[in-house]
Point group: C2
Chain length 400, copies 2
Amino acid sequence: MTQTHDDARDLDAADPLASFRERFFADDDLVAYLDGNSLGRLPRATAVRLAAFVRDEWGGRLIRGWSEGWVDLPVTVGDELGAVLLGAAAGQTVIADSTSVNLYKLLHAAAGVRPGRDEIVIDATNFPTDRYLVDAVAEARGMTVRWLEPDLVDNVTADVLAGALGDRTAVVVLSQVDYRSGTLIDLPGLTSQIQEAGAVVVWDLCHSAGVVPIELDEASVDFAVGCTYKYINGGPGAPAYMYVAERHLAASVQPIPGWWSAGDLFAMSDTYEASPTIRRMLSGTPAVAGMIAVQEGVRLIAEAGIEAVRVKSESLTAYALDLVDAAGLEVATPRDPALRGSHLTVRHDGARAITAQLIERGVVPDFREPDLIRLGLSPLTTSFTEVADAVRVLREIIES
Amino acid sequence: MTQTHDDARDLDAADPLASFRERFFADDDLVAYLDGNSLGRLPRATAVRLAAFVRDEWGGRLIRGWSEGWVDLPVTVGDELGAVLLGAAAGQTVIADSTSVNLYKLLHAAAGVRPGRDEIVIDATNFPTDRYLVDAVAEARGMTVRWLEPDLVDNVTADVLAGALGDRTAVVVLSQVDYRSGTLIDLPGLTSQIQEAGAVVVWDLCHSAGVVPIELDEASVDFAVGCTYKYINGGPGAPAYMYVAERHLAASVQPIPGWWSAGDLFAMSDTYEASPTIRRMLSGTPAVAGMIAVQEGVRLIAEAGIEAVRVKSESLTAYALDLVDAAGLEVATPRDPALRGSHLTVRHDGARAITAQLIERGVVPDFREPDLIRLGLSPLTTSFTEVADAVRVLREIIES
């Protein structure tokens, strides 16, 4: 079904991460899976670990499992994820809930650390949930939303941001990599700019964590959130994570207090007292199987090394860009590799129909309204041959 | 290790649900597992289904899984759970998040359907999360909490409730079965009483769903919430459910809008429009493996029949009560079977130390502050012999 391409074959042969492909299931009929930025592939180790968890831990240890380690997983897996992917020292990252619920908690916590300021800033290009939640939280707190209107591809720059910041700015919400264009914006620079205006930032790392080296502590980021089912390969609906800088912990009041965020989980006391640790961001009982899958995903990236992952990611997007250019297609992703995450986006009026045809022919990208085809390139699992095959099929469909 | 008891052996022999024990893993060293009301056992079918899901669906179908059924699971599994366990017609039950997050959403939605009223009523005996959340939501909405102070064992009665209801009452939050005493309160009667006062009710069904036949539609309940890892056997941290009566759907505004609660999941439009269906209660990406495990758990109860489950539950608690009485122990659970859920609670000054010794000897109950030992009796998996063995060991420990 696939036709070999000399250059792709050479690139695959020279790829130091090529062997990681064998660490994932690939029991499918696909020519190219270019949607690891929506749902990452299944690590073989995860399948083994989940089966053991279900039978030996849930089945065998039953309730004792909680005191034998499960209860600590939100923090232990959080710390591991923070160390490997976020540049976060221990005690600031926790696994919980979904990205949406976590972002909701962080927005309230962030607004709360800047009392007296009444504006939340977000870009109109941001992911729908982020925009919906900013609207909802602003309304609930009597705040105003200030919208940035950046170009999709250039995305949020210092210039775009400058006009919106002021004495009223409490919180700015930004996505490090845009979910449509794949644009990678300047996390350290924009963080400084926001903090110089006296505001705090909430970074959404959904499309960057796992493919872009991130240094939250070094950049003095305030809050961050992200999902685990894309490049971290945690599986469909795996729990998300939150990062709260240690300096904000004591003042971070989240809106959904539960027994899991209380200082003593089993005291079940009359009055709520938030945990002094990052556990204060939890609410209810966390998904144990989900956290275990996240841990396996993080460990695979740790083994590969995030720097090596980034190098391959840049090569993959550069190679895809060359092929897409050669096909004469319009690209909605920055041409400078330093400004890209790990997906490349093609703009075409027939994007929706083309995506359907691609899937029929075994090439799985992602369609995004109104006219975008995302080619997600997941460094641990995507080969250069897959990219070549995908663009060949894309070209055939468009030319036919 | 275990000593047979004639009466227990007879009861087990006559138990029409006895064969269901073989449908669960029991690869453990336990004499008696009496904590299925904290974490239910692992159904064999669930282990098989989860393994198949991980390899064939996540591993094999990848992102295509979402359009091949996963996307509908919150509602399809919700409807199944609603039909089997809640007496809920389709379109009113959805699987999502944790009980805490769901209760938080329902509290806001419930307060919103009674504008102009500013009190939330809850009993001081309720589960900590429920109390913490009522406090938090009341504060966020400028409302007042009115506390009921019932006796732990009698729990919330019409008389206890009567004094608290009035023109200011917006919402009442009650647990159908008390997590400590196991008291089963009058869901239909209290619901009517609350509604006659012009308020709405949010029922927490964590300790009742799966062991007590529930008829939410028939009782005209407004809102309900519950977990799935106790009697529904969904596994540690399995996602919870919410019920919103159809008549309240259009007016139910939940505080965490995300792409999953929007009218069109993939439209990713500029402005948020809540789904007209029960999906409006969702927020972020749901845990697929968790929902599948819930479905298997619900199906096992459907196969046994909730009425048969209730009959065995009453026999189990009655048998346990006889043995505990014979041992001269104090019981903190109603003596009338019609007023009990499926656990029996022993009160003893040395409860904490006794629980630790029980666990050492292979009998797993649950300790609850300050002096309570809960004997959880899960009708699909608990045998009368287990109950007899557990109380024998309990007696030996106390007498030694």
